[in-house]
């Protein structure tokens, strides 16, 4: 257990509404990641962070923004949700810089109607 929680765990929203997902970690790791998981695609990286206010885009960043004002929290925002953003979202932390191992949160299932 790497002390990662995600909230909410489930959310249903309507197209065009803003949505924010939260990832919280208790162990002060610098590196945090947001992924989405869809059938046939595996996990795809949306955004990542190397520290407070230090974020960068991943493979599928269009339509998403992130913020990291505290080490323990990494927020993912969908500014105007679309049906194509219906997915399961996972947050992950990477404990070490020389190790590519990641530990994942339990996920948030988001449905955009």
């Amino acid at each position: 257990d790497a002390g990662i929680t995600q909230s909410p765990r489930h959310k249903v929203t309507e197209t065009g509404t803003p949505v924010t997902l939260r990832c919280h970690q208790t162990e002060n790791h610098r590196y945090m990641y947001w992924y989405r998981q869809d059938p046939g695609h595996g996990l795809r990286l949306i955004h990542y962070s190397y520290g407070v206010k230090d974020t960068d885009k991943g493979e599928v960043s269009d339509g998403y923004s992130v913020s990291r004002s505290k080490t323990e929290d990494f927020l993912l925002t969908l500014e105007s949700a679309t049906s194509s953003q219906t997915s399961v979202y996972f947050c992950a932390i990477q404990p070490g810089t020389s190790d590519d191992t990641q530990y994942f949160g339990p996920g948030t299932r988001l449905t955009v109607l």
């Binding site: 990662i4 992924y35 595996g42 990286l45 590519d100 990641q102 994942f104 339990p106 996920g107």
Partner: protein
Amino acid sequence: TQLLEQSPQFLSIQEGENLTVYCNSSSVFSSLQWYRQEPGEGPVLLVTVVTGGEVKKLKRLTFQFGDARKDSSLHITAAQPGDTGLYLCASRYGQNFVFGPGTRLSVLP
């Protein structure tokens, strides 16, 4: 186009059988991770392989990294229903982490 390909996509076997799943790429990776994911949960790390030709064993699971560090395999001996899940391989590609699409394993009692 997936950087990491996994095969088979689905596998259903009886308890006690052996199986092997594969992860392949056209790129060379510095390391490769295998994860198992159960329904409703996040992936859980099984192993990291780093050296070409490396073999790691975790109880009934044997992981191998290809000599050229472009492929890997996971062999399960005497599969049990508790092995059921989605098996994912992953590696770093530049600044990104990439995952294969996974092999969904079902072990029937």
